[in-house]
């Protein structure tokens, strides 16, 4: 009987040991499920035409609320000619559009604001110099090779004048006043401000670009939009050969991204003649497999994001959907963050 008792005790101990992984699984699966849900909650939708805006409400007690009497935000491009759309989609080597107002109210930018207080202080100071609150008054910023366009709640505010400074030369053009000083120019058309990005820039061309009809199609969407023919990248001499190997295989690239806790990014690229989209897609799939292979079992957040990655080659074009763990990257790259480090 004693022998049987000892065997039963041993079996009970064995069951206890085997219960450890089950208990871990039950505990972990609940935690994993929560972490997956939390991660997915922070993933914005992939950029899509006519996408619904995902914005966080303005925090209470934050910078001054919009003043009364402000004009409503610019109407959507679908209902009326949008100078920002025209500015970005105008023919050229490349352009970008950033939905500043949207980005400023995402958790990611909140994190940035925490980690880069001095830089954001400088931006706020610059906004005050221009007479606007950059976080609330600026709606979108468009970048082209020749200059910058900015839309927002600018009606009645001398933003262009504040940018150039007093004693600027003035010139009327297509209903706006171009201000020029020291080779730099700026102009304001109601809620739109354009400015040259280099000395000797031509603000007329910038105004013409904004007021020209937008090309047909509906491809300008996403919190961040960037399009490039990659010519400038090909010209770079100090980039590593691997970079050239990728760039040389592509004819042009369009990047769209929505930002929340993480960045949902869509990359569209057309292969250059002689290169196959499938070939590049295989390279992309290989790279993704490599990244996934490095993820550990308990890196639930990264695994959840990695599962959302997709590569397709419809219409001979390469389309890659990726979700980048923006916040995680800050930690991985040891991005300095005073508030975070102080909290540890």
């Amino acid at each position: 009987m004693k022998r049987r008792g000892r065997d039963l005790r041993l079996l009970a101990l064995a069951l206890l040991l085997l219960a450890i992984p089950i208990a871990y699984y039950l505990w972990n699966s609940r935690s994993v499920q929560k972490r997956r849900e939390a991660t997915l909650a922070g993933v914005p939708q992939f950029p899509a035409p006519h996408q619904a805006p995902q914005r966080r409400p303005f925090p209470a007690g934050a910078p001054a609320a919009p003043k009364e009497g402000k004009p409503p935000p610019p109407p959507p491009a679908a209902t009326k000619q949008d100078p920002m759309t025209s500015f970005v989609l105008a023919p050229g080597p490349g352009a970008a559009l950033i939905q500043v107002n949207a980005l400023f109210n995402t958790p990611l930018f909140e994190r940035l604001r925490q980690c880069l207080p001095e830089q954001f202080g400088a931006i706020d100071k610059m906004g005050r110099t221009l007479g606007v609150d950059l976080a609330y008054d600026v709606d979108r910023i468009a970048l082209s090779q020749d200059g910058v366009a900015m839309s927002g709640f600018f009606d009645g505010k001398p933003v262009a004048e504040s940018m150039i400074g007093p004693d600027a030369d003035r010139e009327g053009y297509r209903g706006s006043t171009i201000l020029t000083k020291d080779g730099h120019c700026a102009a304001q058309l109601g809620n739109l401000v354009v400015s040259s990005s280099q000395e000797g820039g031509d603000c007329r061309a910038l105004i013409d670009r904004a007021l020209a009809p937008a090309p047909a199609g509906d491809e300008l969407y996403g919190d961040v939009f960037m399009r490039s023919d990659l010519a400038s990248f090909r010209a770079a001499t100090d980039a590593p050969p691997a970079f050239h190997a990728i760039v040389d295989g592509l004819d042009g690239i369009t990047l769209r991204a929505n930002v929340w806790d993480s960045v949902a990014l869509t990359l569209e690229a057309a292969p250059r003649s002689g290169r196959s989209a499938n070939e590049i897609a295989q390279m992309a799939l290989g790279a993704m497999a490599l990244v996934k292979g490095q993820l550990d079992e308990d890196q639930v957040e990264l695994q959840t994001l990695a599962e959302m990655a997709k590569v397709s080659t419809e219409g001979g074009k390469l389309e890659v959907n990726l979700v980048l763990p923006a916040q995680d990257l800050f930690d991985r790259f040891q991005f300095p963050c005073e508030k975070r480090d102080a909290g540890k």
């Binding site: 000892r6 065997d7 069951l15 992984p21 699966s29 997956r36 079992e297």
Partner: protein, 598 residues
């Protein structure tokens, strides 16, 4: 209080078979006092060997009680007081009598007994054969070696199962002499022999076992006693009506050899015998032969086995509760270590380590060759293309990737093969003809299972260490800056192996086949890998994830092997979970081992 007997079986019964029970022993009760020589006789299939197995605690009785020195016979400590010569035991083939004495002295935890063992070998006439391998010894020489091994540790009880089987007359005489000497020294002897004359000449009491029952106990009269009967053969028919003399015509051929008329003379001493002989001579009888007549064992045996079945004799009072074994919390650890040394010696003698090493070296030779040709050349080309040091694939990056890739490769390449290969060791080592010798030592079945697990894991760990170090040195030699953490990838390998080998060991006690248990362990390997890979790919599928949770975390450990290969710190979770699973399965194997009967 009288002294407890040396051994006692009380109303012991034993059956075999799961569905159709075959009753091997029924109500057997034997009590052997200290210093006594008890012989066990019986026809083939009577249950003698089973009785000896019960006596030594190698099997448990279904009913009744067995005691050795008032303790349970399966108590390892009581086995230290027993010397056992099994029938048909298999000695390790490459071991010489000298090395066997050394190994068994170590196994008993009595290093000082080695000298005594050598003297015993000398007494058994083995002095000239000390270094001859066991597989080149004759059957008689093996028996004599076994007898010498049984004497190690100065046992109080000698249990001998057919000790003279296969011996020539001189060998049998030697064994008889040795047993008489041992009995004279006060040792208790329990002898099972089918040679009735041997038993009769050595023992004072003989039990006859027939169809699982002790049908008779025969007291062998002492040769020193002068009381009894004598047969007297006369040349002519005897005179009538002489006092103390009766006719006994049937004794010719049984007690006497001469032709003539036989009479039987009952006497209390030699004087009475001579007086009767004087009366015969005075009556004119011519005496041809005079011979003492004892109760003949063979006749007794024949009568017992051919007679009608008898009810088992009264077993007497039930033995007291067994004495508890001495408390020693480290006994198991020490015994396990001793048996592990024995297994290691056995495996080393079988040269399995060298065989495994040669296979491993061949695999790694091809691997290094392939690595040099494909990976290193490819990586070097990448460095050249991507700008060399400081570029995308500088020396450190290349070391990281080569190490990472190699770590994963080595893990998957070594694990399944080593599990299957190692699983093949268990059944030969657990062969009953082999383990019966080990289990007669102060060790338990649990000690045997633990020692086997320990030995095989230690051997595989050694192989892993050697091969990984070799690979590390080879990669460094090729100029790839692999991190020293690469050497630690034996840790995930060993943990994964231990968990899988625990499965193989548990299976060995069920199927008794190395190939089958290795196959089952490999199946677990496949199922664990596929299930975990599938559960990672389908995180929503809960049943799959639950299944994966119950299996060794092979994929998680492979990731850790890759991390270590690449010089990154590993994560503890897969190690802890797999170790818990492995330990749990090992305990199941331990219980299977403890409850197994060979």
């Amino acid at each position: 209080m009288s002294e407890e007997p040396a051994l006692q079986l009380w109303s012991v019964g034993k059956s075999f078979g799961v569905f159709r029970k075959h009753e091997v022993l029924r109500g057997v009760s034997i009590r052997v006092e200290r210093g006594e020589c008890y012989g066990l006789a019986g026809p083939n299939g009577a249950g003698k060997t089973t009785l000896i197995r019960l006596l030594l605690g190698l099997a448990a009785p279904d009913t009744g009680e067995v005691r050795l020195f008032a303790m349970r016979p399966d108590t390892p400590d009581v086995r230290a007081r027993v010397g056992f010569v099994p029938e048909a035991a298999e000695l390790p083939p490459a071991a010489s009598p000298r090395s066997l004495v050394r190994r068994f002295a170590r196994l008993r935890g009595l290093r000082e007994a080695e000298q005594r063992g050598m003297e015993e070998l000398d007494r058994m006439g083995m002095a000239e054969l000390l270094d001859r391998p066991a597989n080149k010894l004759s059957k008689g020489e093996k028996q004599r070696t076994l007898l010498a091994l049984a004497m190690l540790g100065d046992p109080q009880l000698l249990v001998l199962d057919e000790p003279t089987d296969g011996l020539d007359p001189l060998g049998r005489a030697l064994v008889r002499r040795v047993l008489r000497e041992e009995q004279a020294r006060g040792r208790t002897v329990f002898l099972n022999s089918h040679l009735l004359s041997e038993t009769e000449r050595i023992c004072t009491r003989v039990g006859i076992l027939h169809r699982g029952q002790l049908v008779r106990e025969h007291a062998v009269p002492s040769t020193q006693s002068t009381a009894g009967s004598s047969a007297v053969v006369l040349s002519d028919p005897p005179p009538r009506d002489l006092p103390g003399i009766r006719a006994a015509p049937s004794l010719l051929g049984q007690a006497t050899e001469s032709e003539g008329s036989t009479v039987l003379v009952d006497h209390d001493d030699v004087l009475q015998l001579n007086a009767a002989l004087d009366r015969l001579r005075a009556a004119g009888a011519q005496i041809v032969e005079v011979r003492r007549v004892r109760e003949d064992l063979e006749a007794s045996f024949e009568a017992a086995v051919s007679g009608p079945g008898q009810a088992p004799p009264d077993p007497g009072p039930q033995p007291r509760e067994p004495l508890p074994p001495p408390r020693d919390p480290f006994r198991g650890v020490r015994a396990t270590m001793r048996v592990a040394q024995e297994f290691a010696a056995d495996l080393a003698a079988r040269k399995v380590g060298w065989f495994a090493l040669i296979i491993g070296l061949l695999v790694f030779g091809f691997f290094l060759w392939g690595l040099h040709n494909d990976v290193v050349k490819g990586a070097a080309a990448t460095v050249r293309q991507f700008g060399g040091p400081g570029g995308m694939a500088d020396e450190a990056t290349m070391g990281h990737w080569v190490g990472r890739w190699t770590g994963g490769f080595v893990y998957w390449a070594l694990l399944p093969g080593s599990v299957i290969f190692a699983s093949m060791f268990a059944p030969p080592l657990l062969d009953p003809r082999r383990t019966i010798l080990l289990l007669a030592q102060p060790v338990s079945r649990g000690d045997l299972a633990s020692a086997l697990f320990l030995t095989v894991n230690a051997m595989v760990l050694g192989e892993y260490l050697f091969l990984v170090a070799l690979l590390y040195a080879g990669i460094r030699w090729m100029g790839v800056a692999v991190s020293p953490l690469f050497l630690c990838l034996v840790a995930p390998l060993s943990v994964a192996f231990a968990a899988l080998y625990a499965v193989a060991l548990a299976m060995t006690y069920g199927v008794r086949s190395g190939v089958a248990s290795g196959g089952i362990a490999f199946l677990i390997f496949l199922v664990a890998t596929i299930t975990q890979a599938a559960s990672v790919a389908n995180p929503e599928y809960k049943v799959l994830a639950l299944e994966a949770a119950l299996l060794p975390r092979l994929i998680g450990l492979a990731e850790q092997a890759a991390r270590l290969g690449g010089g990154e710190a590993p994560r503890a979770t897969p190690f802890v979970l797999t170790a818990a699973i492995g330990a749990g399965i090992f305990l199941v194997a331990l219980v299977a081992a403890r409850r197994s009967e060979q």
